[in-house]
C-alpha cells in the first residue's frame, strides 16, 4: 500500500508543475500587467519602462515564471492591487472560511446521500425510491445559483431563520464557544444550498451500486449461510457498495469548488470564491492567478485522497 501512496505522490509533482505553468501562461496572456492600471498617466513612459525592467517584466517568460514560482513556493504570491496587501495574507483569512464551508458542505452531502442512497437502492422501484430519484433528477436539472437564491430568500429573508451574510456576527469574541456556534450558524444555509445539489450524484451512484451488489452471487452465498436480511445488508451489500463512493470523493471536492464560488457571492460569505469573483471584476490579476493555482492544487489533492482511500479500503488494490 505504501508503494501506491508514494507512487501517487510522485505523480503529483509533474501534475502540479504543469498546472503552475498553465496558470502562469494564462495570467501572462491576460491584457496588461502589474503596472498598467497602477500608475499615474502623467508619469514619463520611460520611467515606467525602467520600472518594468527593474521588476523583471521584460525578461523572457521562463525567467519570469521561475521568479514567480520560487516566490510562490516561499509563500509570496505577490501584491493585490486592490487591497494593497500581500496576496498570501489576503487569501489566508478567506481560505479558512472556505475550508470551513467546504467541510460543512461535505458532511451535509454525505448525511443526505448515504441514507437516501441506501433507502432508494434497498427498496428500489417502490414509491419511496421514485420520490428519491425524482429529487435527484431535479437536483441535476436545477442550477445551483437559483437554488441558493431561493434558499437565501426563503430561510434568510422570509422566515429570518438564518443570517443572510458574513461568516460571523460583528462583535463576537474569537475563541469563545459562542463564537464557534455563531460561525456554524452562518455556515449552515450556504453549506446546505450546495449540499442539496451536489449530493444528487452521490445518491444515484450509491443507489446503482446497491442495486448492482444485491444481484451478486456472494449475496446468495450469504443468504444460503442463513444470514438474516439485515445482516446481508449491513455486512455484505452496504460495505461493498460504499467502497466506490470513496472513489467519488475526489469529484465531490471538485464540484465543491464550483459550488463555493457561486454560493459565497450570493450569501456574501467572505471566502475565496467571493474574493475570486470580486477580483475578476476589478482585474486584480495577481489574486485571480493565485486562487486559480490554489483551486487547481485542491483538485489534484482531491483525486490523490480518493486514490489513497480506495487503496486502503479495497484489498485488491491494497495488496498488489
Amino acid at each position: 500500500m505504501w508503494k501506491i501512496i508514494v507512487r501517487r505522490l510522485l505523480i503529483m509533482i509533474p501534475q502540479v508543475f504543469l498546472l503552475s505553468i498553465l496558470v502562469f501562461l494564462m495570467a501572462k496572456a491576460m491584457p496588461g500587467d502589474a503596472l498598467t492600471g497602477m500608475l499615474d498617466p502623467n508619469i514619463d513612459p520611460a520611467a515606467i519602462e525602467a520600472m518594468r525592467e527593474r521588476l523583471g517584466l521584460n525578461d523572457p517568460w521562463h525567467i519570469q515564471y521561475w521568479n514567480w514560482i520560487s516566490n510562490a513556493v516561499q509563500g509570496d504570491l505577490g501584491q493585490s492591487f486592490n487591497f494593497k496587501m500581500p496576496v498570501t495574507e489576503l487569501i489566508g483569512q478567506r481560505m479558512m472560511n472556505t475550508l470551513w464551508l467546504s467541510l460543512a458542505t461535505l458532511i451535509l452531502t454525505y448525511l443526505i446521500a448515504i441514507p437516501l442512497g441506501i433507502l432508494s437502492g434497498r427498496f428500489n422501484d417502490t414509491w419511496g425510491d421514485r420520490l428519491i430519484t425524482g429529487y435527484t433528477y431535479i437536483g441535476f436539472a436545477a442550477p445551483l445559483f437559483i437554488v441558493a437564491l431561493v434558499m437565501l430568500w426563503m430561510f434568510g429573508f422570509y422566515f429570518s431563520w438564518f443570517p443572510t451574510g458574513g461568516s460571523v456576527s460583528p462583535g463576537a469574541v474569537p475563541g469563545s464557544f459562542s463564537y464557534v456556534l455563531d460561525k456554524i450558524y452562518h455556515l449552515l444555509l450556504p453549506a446546505l444550498s450546495i449540499a442539496l445539489i451536489t449530493t444528487v450524484g452521490t445518491v444515484q451512484y450509491l443507489r446503482n451500486e446497491i442495486i448492482d451488489t444485491k444481484q451478486k452471487d456472494f449475496i446468495l452465498t450469504a443468504r444460503a449461510k442463513g444470514a438474516s436480511e439485515s445482516r446481508v445488508y449491513n455486512r455484505h451489500i452496504l460495505r461493498n457498495s460504499l467502497l466506490p463512493i470513496a472513489a467519488f470523493f475526489g469529484y465531490e471536492l471538485t464540484g465543491l469548488i464550483g459550488g463555493t464560488i457561486f454560493v459565497e457571492s450570493i450569501f456574501s460569505y467572505p471566502g475565496m470564491g467571493q474574493l475570486f469573483l470580486g477580483s475578476i471584476v476589478i482585474r486584480d490579476f495577481t489574486v485571480v492567478t493565485a486562487i486559480v493555482l490554489l483551486y487547481g492544487i485542491a483538485t489534484i489533492i482531491g483525486s490523490l485522497l480518493s486514490d489513497i482511500i480506495l487503496s486502503i479500503v479495497d484489498p485488491r488494490i491494497r495488496i498488489k
Binding site: K3, V6, R7, L10
Partner: protein, 311 residues
Amino acid sequence: MALLEVKDLQVHFPIRGGLFSRQVGEVKAVDRVNLAIEAGQTYGLVGESGSGKTTTGRAIIGLNQITGGSILFEGADLASKGARKQNNVRRDVQMIFQDPYSSLNPKKRVLDIIAEPLRNFEKLSPQEEMRKAQELLEQVGLSADNVLKYPHEFSGGQRQRIGIARAIALKPKLIIADEPVSALDVSVQAQVLNFLRDIQKELNLTYLFISHDLGIIRHMCDRIGIMYKGRHVEEGTPEDIFDNPRHIYTKRLIAAIPDIDPLQREVRNVFRRSVSEEYDNAYRSHFDQDGLAYPLRSISDTHMVAMPEKG
C-alpha cells in the same frame, strides 16, 4: 507442404512491479511451440487454463504480439513485419470466438456483422452485399430473412452460426476456433460441431481447434497437441493420444475425464489411483527442474512426446 507451420513460437508477457512499474520479469505464456497443419485437416490444441493454448491461437491471427519464432502460412512468415499487411493473409485466416453473446456487436444488424469483412476487402454494391449475406446465412443454416435482425433475437447456437458466417464470408483457408462451443448447451453444441465438419468438407477448410474438452477434441481432430505451461507435452493422432498416451501429464488428463459408464466406476478408481501414483513417481523424469516439459521427441511416425535426451 503444410498450410500453417509454427516454429519455435514464443509469446512472453511482461510482469511489471516496483515504484515505477518497470518490467521485473516475464510470463512465458507460449514457450517455443512447434506445430504444423496440413490443408483440410483439423489440429486440436488441448490444455487447462494457463496452458497457453488460447495465446497460441491469438498469436497466429495477430492478436498477441510475438516474442520470437516464426509462423509460416503458405510459406510466408507472418511474424516478419509487413507480411500481415498483405491482404490475402488477413482474408485467409479467420477466427471463431468462444462467447457468442459478447463477440457479436449488439448494436449491429446481422447484415452488418456478416458483411463487415466483405466491406474491408471487397467492393460490393449494397445489393450484392445483401445477396451475399443472405447466401452466407443460408449456408450456416439460418433463414435468409434474418438478415435485418439484431443478435439479441437469436439463441446461443444461432449466434455462434452468425459468428461462423462472418468467419467464412471471405472464403478463408484457415479458421482458428477458440472454444467455439463451450458456452453452449449440449444439444446446441452437437449442432455447431456437426456444422463445422460439414463446412470443412464443403469449403476445404483447415481448422486450429482450441478446447479444454477432450471428448470434443477427439470427435473433431486429425491431430492433437497437449499443452502444459506454455509448452507441448505430447502430440499425435487421436489414437496415439487417447489409446497410447506416453507423457504422465497426458495420462493424468485423460484419466480425469468423467466416464459415461457408471459400471466402470470401480475400474476407473483403481486406474486413476495407479495413474496418480505413476505421476508422483515419474514426475522428475518427465519435467525439468522448473516443472516445465522437455522438447518433443518422436517415438513413432506420428507420435511425439516431451522427454529428456536419454529416456
